[in-house]
């Protein structure tokens, strides 16, 4: 069982801050942090993070979307080695100001599989 505060922080009944309910919630939190963090943002490791927001002002082409997927895959392999990624889908509908990311993953050792859905925009 993973003991960690749930984010955003809220007062708990047993502990000072309420804890994450289950492992899946913690894994999703890890993934979200990794994708949304810009490289250089984390003090202890300047390479940490995908920095997906840096792509927002690119001309969205198939190649750029592939690069985002590749960056996410590499970052997960490096920093979240305990999860197996089964599929990464990155899309940006025409004339829209956002990129949607879907990461499908599983953790065979504890029999967990889920999808992370993210929509990243400049707002």
């Amino acid at each position: 069982m993973i003991h960690t505060p749930q984010f955003p922080l809220s007062l708990g009944s047993k502990t000072l801050f309420s804890e994450a309910d289950n492992t899946k919630q913690v894994v999703l939190f890890h993934l979200r942090n990794l994708i949304l963090t810009n490289p250089g943002e984390k003090i202890s490791d300047p390479d940490y993070g995908v920095g997906i927001r840096s792509y927002l002002f690119e001309n969205i082409t198939r190649g750029v979307l592939n690069n985002i997927a590749k960056d996410i895959d590499l970052a997960i392999k490096k920093y979240l080695g305990y999860i197996d990624v089964t599929n990464i889908t990155v899309a940006s509908p025409p004339d829209s100001n956002y990129v949607s990311v879907k990461v499908s993953f599983e953790i065979p050792s504890i029999d967990i599989s889920d999808d992370l859905l993210l929509e990243v925009s400049n707002t």
Binding site: T4, V26, F29
Partner: protein
């Protein structure tokens, strides 16, 4: 009576402070917190606390260095330490300018011109004291 946790006072930089904090949490709070992944919320807190610790250590070192003439870097601190040792520092002048100096050269008695015996002396600084201006017959 329970012992107080041991604090390592030799940890003064970011990495060693973070390492000590992680070890402390692992040892004393295994049933409260055990998510030590780089992506965890706790990792961010460890980073921020270590950052503050590193900053404080830096300024303590800096202040100590500024207390000694050998290691001080800041101009005002060096001046103050020197002042304690008896060095009188007058600082920069409030204003400056050029000064023209004029000398009255007496005329030779019984003649119309100046006393030419003084010309070699006056010519030592000809640009400061133009002879033709200075000489009053």
């Amino acid at each position: 009576m329970p012992k107080k946790p041991i604090i390592k006072y030799t940890n003064t930089d970011f990495d060693s402070i973070k390492q000590a904090l992680v070890e402390h949490a692992k040892r004393y709070y295994p049933d409260r917190y055990n998510d030590f992944n780089q992506s965890s919320f706790g990792s961010m807190l460890f980073d921020m606390i270590s950052y503050v610790g590193d900053t404080l250590s830096f300024y303590i070192d800096y202040q100590v260095n500024e207390s000694f003439l050998e290691t001080a870097l800041e101009y005002t601190n060096i001046r103050k330490i020197a002042s304690q040792m008896g060095y009188n520092f007058y600082g920069k002048a409030a204003a400056f300018g050029t000064v023209d100096v004029f000398v009255l050269v007496p005329a030779i008695s019984g003649d119309l011109g100046p006393n030419t015996a003084l010309i070699p002396v006056l010519k030592k600084e000809p640009y400061l004291i133009p002879l033709e201006v200075q000489v009053i017959p």
